[in-house]
Symmetry: C2
Subunit: 379 residues, 2 copies
């Protein structure tokens, strides 16, 4: 007998009641029964996104939603600012370049936050910029960028603000309307507590106006097709029915808990992880001014085989965590606590981590990370 | 107590054991556990597609796979032949035009089959054609096009043959390699007996060579990215894990039945439906030279409210069938028998149809369609 614990920043664990709701017999998507579910899901997403904007669903991973923001808003040659301090910011750079946009890159080190002032300066110098791309919560590092401050800056210009909140939504505050976030996107396998396969994008009025001028080719990811279908409470193409049925269930759970409580819970879990790992002498990767609640990246201590940490935690203790990506492979490990997690998932993860580090020869007082975490978790 | 019967050409019913397999705890997609499943799925698909070609999976509907064949094979201005005798053939025309291809349209009436000779003539006249698009099984009408004959013609040219087999695979013969079908695609919610949300595309060597020259922009639907990940038995972006777990289960069932038996079963079910509806004086929409096994389109008899047929069958008898699409709305209805169907699903559908037609004032001898169907089903 061995239990499995999924503690990666996506896919995240799916509550049993959500998994079982997906085991119901498949219904057809052009029926009143489906429409009722679809409408409930859209309203639930608007609640979680804190928006009155249209929400568009795609059967795709989060990358599909990212691509949709490029092909629906812009035309080849359009000037955009793309900020990047991690793997997913880099993906926006690649997407912009793939579609022939003129990309003004604002690249930061992966342990730094995006500086809103840099965007302001860049927008002042380039009044013809049509869009600004920001990753709210960098899944590759756990770094949190201040999209509220950036929203305030971009609001005053003709540009639209595109926010990748794939690991932000449901973990940190993302006040779409209040903060003037024109585009906000997330994926199903994150804070929404679903299997992967769905992505959601909210589109502001300002963004719809810009989208009218876009000449980049699109079909499957066309927002216009989605909007037309939305008027009839339908999807343009066959939707991932079972995932949408599951999403209704997970959104119901989220409504019951309440968005504010969800974010408080995530903040507490993240605080506990941080308290735990620092108590045994480990260092956090994200800077103090930009730490999200979705995932905690921890530096691999000197003399320890970084790649062995996720490997042993998984093979020996059944706890799946993520390693570092790209140049951070072997240099950090990432504990996900986004979505369906409670206090005791954190003590589980820290306990398995301690056992693993011990095996790898790292010196520390046993149990101290649990003690530090429990202090936070019981407060 | 009311039972529900889904008899549309997609989504199709999902076997309970497949539904339940999707309710297993989510696993991460960068683990040996996932890789094992993924490899099994790819091998299973190659068996069903009758191919040794690479198979690429997308988390998307079938339309995403269709779009992928346009953006990965061609460049703006490339000349292609697109045949169409229904809604999904038309979709290829729209896709080709969206991406700036020079589309030579071969349009037929929806009750006609695509004529291979027309393609031959067109290829002779246009030796610079780079691709030919054919819908094997038109979901909108049940008409079957002869992709074997077309494969024979296209093979001799530099063009690649793109086959939409979304409702073909698993219902009719689709001998990808033997028939020289360069691209073959299907969707999960069809013969593969899964919920919607996955699409599969097989790519021949000839197609890979053409793809190297393609300059159309792509990212999420990039075959090259998929191929690169495939070398490591991975997906380029987070895959729809639960659907892939389900697909392993349904492919296992398909292997146990055997492809030949699956197709024989579909042929028998389709024969039974045709025998049944014609026995009560109804007419088939598809011509005798092109009738598939996935869906049977039936003409609405004179004096009967065509839109009321699916409505009453669903609301009163719990049997969901499909109406006609586009200009055929109200003029035909479509009984799906693709995927998880056996003999008694056919008698169920015919019985509910008789009860519905009776209510709508159509004159016929009661029970005669069942009698005719049973004759076929017990042979």
């Amino acid at each position: 007998m061995r239990k499995s614990y999924l503690m990666t920043p996506g896919p995240t664990p799916v509550p049993p009641q959500v998994l079982l709701s997906q085991a119901k017999p498949i219904i057809h998507h052009r029926t009143p029964e489906y429409t009722k579910i679809f409408v409930e899901v859209l309203e639930g997403l608007q609640y979680i996104f804190e928006t009155k904007n249209d929400i568009i669903l795609f059967s795709s991973s989060g990358t599909g939603a990212m691509e949709s923001s490029v092909v629906n808003l812009f035309s080849a040659g359009d000037k955009v600012i793309v900020t990047s301090n991690g793997k997913f910011g880099d993906r926006f750079v690649q997407l912009g370049e793939t579609y022939g946009l003129e990309v003004i890159k604002h690249e930061y080190k992966w342990h730094q936050v995006v500086k809103p002032d840099d965007i302001k300066k860049s927008l002042d110098e380039n009044p013809d910029v049509k869009g600004v791309f920001v990753t709210q919560s960098e899944t590759s590092t756990g770094v949190l960028n201040d999209v509220k401050a950036i929203g305030e800056i971009v609001k005053a210009t003709n540009a639209v603000l595109v926010v990748d909140s794939i690991t932000g939504i449901g973990a940190v505050e993302t006040k779409t309307d209040e903060w003037n976030l024109d585009i906000v996107m997330t994926g199903s396998q994150k804070g929404l507590m679903l299997p992967p396969g769905l992505a959601a994008v909210s589109v502001s009025e300002k963004a719809w106006k810009l989208a009218e001028k876009s000449t980049l080719p699109k079909f499957y990811f066309s927002w216009a097709k989605a909007k037309k279908a939305l008027e009839k409470k339908q999807n343009p193409f066959t939707p991932a029915v079972s995932l949408i049925v599951g999403l209704r269930e997970s959104l119901k759970m989220m409504r019951e808990e309440g968005l504010e409580n969800i974010i408080k819970r995530h903040a507490q879990l993240a605080d506990a992880v941080r308290a735990g790992v620092t108590a045994i002498g480990l260092e956090l990767f994200a800077p103090s001014e930009g730490r999200g609640n979705a995932v905690t990246a921890v530096k691999v201590p000197e003399g320890v085989d970084g790649k062995a940490i996720p490997r042993i935690m998984s093979s020996k203790y059944g706890v799946t965590i993520a390693g570092g990506q790209e140049h951070l492979a072997g240099k950090i490990f990432r504990l996900g606590h986004l979505g369906y997690y409670d206090k005791f998932d954190i003590t589980t993860a820290l306990s398995a981590l301690e056992m693993t580090l011990q095996e790898l020869g790292y010196q520390f007082e046993k149990g101290v990370s649990l003690k530090a975490a429990e202090k936070v978790l019981s407060s």
